[in-house]
């Protein structure tokens, strides 16, 4: 449970309006928001994007502090991209240059745009993962992929794979910690030594882990077969996504706001 939280964004269990929305709506809206971020030009559209994000964060009822933890691990990537943007783009007034590097007014402007896009996108996807459990997200992906069945994409099998992967992440994590403890008990030291020796010490963890995973896979396959699983057969679904009135309302709002966004974009 803990482990899956660490790995997949950070789902915050709550009963806020945004938590209750259909995961398909949230997933599509999140994608759409990213598209809008790339369309945005000029202060008015950016202001609109910020307002939309503020609205989403408000509806999620999650403390701003938790959003900061979503951005924190990415701060180096953001910083590096911004630095490259400042140092290597050209155009406008040149403030400083050395070899290939130059700080220009256009570079600084562009860096700001990139910084803004980064933060908006990361925050929007954090809203998605914080309000939607991974399993519901997997359901949404499966549901949205369903039309691909016509193109002979094995949607059912892919969905089964995702759900089994999600199911076994905590189990495998537990096994890793058991193996690490067992190797430490035999005197393996994982904390010291050069990077190379430390990587080399991972081998006695990986080998039993892989053997264990294969054994598990074999057992699981037999258990699934015993319960009548046939990958080529159609199955009914126990967990179903139901579209409700609030979903329709939110969808209408998203469409209207998008229309307004493009209007503003056309007139600036």
């Amino acid at each position: 449970m803990m482990n899956s939280r660490v790995l997949f964004g950070s789902y915050v269990p709550m009963n806020a309006p945004l938590h209750r929305l259909d995961p398909r709506l949230k997933l599509v809206t999140c994608f759409w928001y990213v598209v809008l971020v790339f369309f945005a030009r000029g202060p008015w559209t950016y202001l609109m994007l910020v307002a939309m994000l503020a609205g989403m964060i408000g509806l999620s009822k999650i403390a701003l502090r938790l959003y900061w933890t979503g951005i924190k691990p990415l701060i180096w990537v953001i910083g590096l991209t911004v630095a490259i943007q400042i140092l290597f783009s050209s155009g406008g007034h040149v403030y400083w240059h050395w070899g290939l590097m130059a700080i220009t007014s256009a570079g600084i402007a562009q860096a700001f745009v990139i910084l803004a896009r980064f933060i908006l996108i990361v925050l929007a996807s954090t809203v998605l993962t914080a309000t939607t459990p991974p399993l519901r997200l997997a359901d949404a992906i499966e549901s949205l992929m369903r039309p691909l069945k016509k193109l002979r994409v094995p949607v059912n099998q892919i969905a089964m794979m995702i759900s089994i992967a999600l199911r076994f992440i905590p189990t495998i994590m537990e096994e890793v910690s058991t193996i690490v403890k067992a190797q430490q008990a035999r005197g393996v030291d994982f904390a010291s030594g050069s990077l190379y020796t430390r990587v080399k010490r991972m081998v006695p963890i990986m080998v039993p882990l892989f053997i264990g995973a294969f054994r598990r896979a074999e057992d699981l396959a037999m258990a699934m077969e015993a319960r009548g699983y046939d990958p080529d057969q159609e199955r009914t679904r126990y967990r179903q996504l139901t579209w409700q009135r609030p979903d329709s309302i939110v969808l209408a709002v998203v469409v209207l706001v998008s229309a307004l966004f493009f209007l503003v974009l056309a007139f600036t």
Partner: protein
């Protein structure tokens, strides 16, 4: 009526020279609890897998509910036979308890409402209803096995095969599963096959077969077979506490124990002795 008929079943694992199971024949009547005992590697699990069609039979025939176990009948066999395996983690397919119980029902393409009703009923039966939305990582081994049992019962099977399902559990978890099986058995129609090397577990059954070296070495009443000290020793099985105690008492010169066949009777017998010496 015989629910399961096994006739001359022989099976060799690919790449092996000696068969894992050789010319095994026996019958199980409807509603019977059969214990299949044998030490590790005796072939008892192989036998169970053959009955559910999870391994392809070499020679011989097996029928379940009159249906021969063949590739063509596999779906029908899986609908009649439910299987609970040894490892609690490796048979937990669903991401939550309810999802796992529903897994087999989804495969049978049941309607959502019917599924919900069966999931609830099965979870109630194993006393796990309040855990329906839990994830497997939050459950103990015994709870996971109870969920596995619920997943099997939700299928409304005619035969329930329990393959060393308590071997990885603590005594409490073991006890709960055994109580559940006893209750299911007492309810009637379900035919139960429990594979075990725990002779105490075997003592609960109506019929017992013993497998050693891939061959059937005994078939009969568990009370009689478990009391047969030579048979047990020959096939590397530890006698039950009851048998060991009777044996010890007999060697101390205590007589009159011949009619005692269960632990309860033993308790009564000892009480009587204690009271009469007062």
């Amino acid at each position: 009526m015989a629910m399961i008929e096994v006739n001359g079943a022989t099976f060799t694992y690919p790449g092996n020279k000696t068969p894992a199971l050789r010319d095994v024949s026996f019958e199980v009547q409807v509603g019977t609890w059969l214990a299949i005992v044998g030490h590790n590697g005796s072939g008892k699990s192989t036998l169970a897998r053959l009955i559910d069609g999870l391994l392809p039979l070499g020679t011989g025939t097996i029928t379940v509910d009159g249906l021969p176990v063949t590739v063509a009948n596999l779906t029908a066999i899986h609908q009649r036979v439910a299987f609970v395996f040894q490892n609690p983690d490796n048979q937990f397919v669903g991401t939550t308890v309810a999802d796992d119980v529903a897994f087999g029902l989804e495969n049978q393409r049941l309607d959502r409402n019917e599924m919900q009703a069966r999931v609830n009923q099965a979870l109630k039966e194993v006393n796990m209803l309040e855990f329906a939305d839990r994830e497997p990582a939050q459950l103990s081994g015994g709870q996971k096995q109870r969920v596995a049992l619920a997943g099997a019962l939700a299928l409304h099977p005619q035969v329930l095969i329990v393959d060393e399902a308590t071997a990885m559990l603590d005594p409490e978890g073991k006890d709960q599963i055994m109580k559940l099986l006893t209750r299911l058995h007492n309810e009637g129609k379900l035919t139960i096959l429990s594979i075990t090397h725990d002779t105490r577990e075997a003592a609960l059954a109506d019929q017992m077969i013993m497998i050693d070296g891939g061959q059937l070495v005994a078939n009969g009443d568990p009370k009689k077979l478990l009391a047969d000290k030579k048979l047990m020793e020959d096939h590397q099985l530890t006698p039950t506490f009851l048998v060991a105690l009777k044996d010890e008492l007999a060697s101390q010169g205590v007589t009159g124990l011949d009619d005692v066949t269960t632990e309860d009777e033993m308790v009564t017998w000892i009480w009587q002795k204690l009271n009469s010496t007062k």
